[in-house]
Symmetry: C2
Subunit: 376 residues, 2 copies
């Protein structure tokens, strides 16, 4: 194998593929990335136990030549070192596989000789037959993930909850995540009719957010029984799915509000963040939201040792009863208010010990549900 490649293009590709490869592993090749050179371009592949990223570097990008393949071949290299050295190289990179055990990377006056691994040890995912594919705008999918993934469980006590549900049901695409104390849901009307769902590990969703969300290209999504593949022109991300049954989202959405109020989202978020300073002293980051007479929302938190923060914010409009007080986790409320981009939010109260629901005032396509904290 031998090729000459543009420094910036190669460094970016190696970085993107290496990022989630484990740097320490009991089996050396698990810390490797594979580089393949073929007439049509390079392919760089990295894996961990859950996901695989493949990046292609074409011969040309736009009108400029970025790659010249002199000899086809492939090699597995220690990802950490190839990534760290390559990003520091001064100019175009001349890459040569000398025999199966070592490569040379030359850039200007710099020569990096590196040991290579046996290719056979590289733990590539097997391709699985996909029997269902959809196509959608990459930025829309990114937004759906960003607005929900944070709500997935951080612990593994119920494996399905450490995943993000992606479900196509008739002509609605739903993405949702819950840790059983909060739930975030995004829906989108979809032009393809079908019935399919997948529980995607939250780490893979976060990798998607970093890798594929920045360009507005379409993303192809291939569902199969145990994997899902996200793919655009130059990158593909394959992830194993979490097996099991995800809780029925419809069943988690409270019905029958006794009061609804509309608030300025950013102002409320700032108020919640202020109250959170004391709330973080308590186990559940408890703050209390109280409505009295329907015109002011009072946000309160207190700590016996430190003191009490209290502020009142104007309610923009309200419906239903005029008095209620609910205690919630300030971090959950803050996350929900950050996920929403719209200026105004509606908060629905179902009762003192019932979950609250937060959504933009002008759409039901996004919902955040937070269970109350029991205050002693």
């Amino acid at each position: 194998m031998e090729f000459i490649v543009n420094h910036d293009v190669f460094a970016k590709a190696v970085y993107e593929v290496s990022r989630m490869v484990p740097t320490k592993s009991h089996h050396a090749a698990l810390s490797g990335i594979m580089i393949k050179a073929e007439a049509e371009g390079l392919e760089i592949i990295g894996c961990n136990s859950e996901l695989m990223v493949k990046k292609k570097i074409p011969i040309q990008e736009g009108n400029s030549s970025v790659l010249q393949v002199l000899r086809n071949g492939k090699s597995v290299l220690f990802s950490k070192y190839v990534s760290e050295v390559v990003k520091k190289l001064p100019e175009d990179i001349h890459f040569t596989l000398k025999d199966n055990h070592s490569i040379t990377i030359q850039s200007g006056e710099v020569i990096f000789n590196m040991n290579a691994y046996e290719e056979i040890e590289f733990p590539q995912f097997e391709a699985s037959d996909s029997n269902f594919s959809i196509k959608m705008n990459g930025k829309s999918l990114l937004e759906m993930f960003v607005q929900t993934a944070f709500a997935a469980a951080k612990t593994n006590s119920r494996p399905v909850l450490s995943g993000v549900l992606m479900e196509l049901n008739e002509s609605v695409l739903t993405v949702g995540a819950t840790n059983s104390n909060r739930l975030a849901v995004r829906k989108m009307p979809f032009d393809k009719v079908g019935q399919r769902s997948a529980i995607i590990p939250v780490s893979a969703v976060n990798e998607f957010i970093k890798l594929m969300g920045t360009d507005s290209e379409d993303v192809l999504i291939h569902f199969s029984d145990r994997q899902i593949v996200f793919q655009n022109q130059y990158i593909s991300l394959t992830t194993r799915l979490i097996e099991g049954k995800y809780p029925e989202i419809r069943g988690l959405i409270p019905s029958g509000a006794i009061m609804e109020i509309t608030m300025d989202r950013e102002r409320l978020r700032q108020g919640v963040d202020r109250a959170a300073v004391l709330a973080n002293e308590s186990k559940n980051h408890t703050i209390s939201l109280s409505v009295k007479e329907g015109s002011l929302l009072k946000i309160t938190s207190h700590s016996n040792e430190i003191g009490k923060i209290e502020e009142s914010q104007q309610i923009l409009s309200h419906k239903g009863e005029i008095g209620i007080s609910v205690s919630v986790d300030s971090q959950y409320l803050s996350d929900a208010l950050k996920a929403i981009k719209e200026d105004h939010v509606m908060i629905s109260f179902g009762g003192v010990m019932k979950p609250i629901l937060i959504r933009p005032t002008d759409t039901e396509n996004q919902m955040h549900i937070i269970s109350p904290v029991r205050v002693k």
Copy 2:
């Protein structure tokens, strides 16, 4: 005590004073800051076991009124919470000490009631009689500290080496730091004749760098036997000194180079950083510098497991012998090359197992000395 203060000015002052106050302490008041309100302004004071920061907020800054003191007094508050809440407040702050045990901070619709500590417990430093003071430009002192403090010892095995030496000897001011394997020295001609030295804890030097270096105001430095005070118009920083005898700096500077070479500083720094990727695998981050025939400097590092990086850089000029090879800690060399701002550096070699000396080509007021690493 009662005052109304501009939000940004108060938040910045509280942040600067709180930063080095310990957040957890067996004695609650040690995590506190003291706020004093007097006719001429506010004074905010924070301490840890080594240093004390005092910040003044005047009634006016330039032409704008920033403070209105309604009632004099003082109070000790839990620094972490007052700092975190104050920075999140929306507008001017109305601060009231209600009795000796609680204060109220009001800003717009936000009311923060906070417990206060008994003032008597606050661990202020005692003022000590200074018998020697000098005045110098704040930015110059900052530069002297930035270019040397990194070389101080990170461990405490010899307490004096975890300090930075500041010495006025006749009409030269010297700042230096060493961990016994490397030394960084800055000198400056000084218009005051005198003989005085102090070993300043590196944590205090780093606090000075954060607090006082940004404005070009003059800094007054008051030496006393066990403390040193740095002071400008609004801030003072008092630090305990490290007791003991600092190594004689003159004795650490090698004499009698067998070869001197001149290099492009930034290019060399980049080369050292590249080689460091593999060097970091070895205990002493060993890289090797070799000169052959006086025209090229070869920078090499290697790891049996990973491979070898090698590059050659043009020597701009040389004096003395034409061949040598020395192994040094790449991190030390990189730090020295970052500390120097000039475009060209001179490296003096004393011999294979002798320290190397790096300095800007056009001044002897800055020197970095690095001991060689013994390679097995």
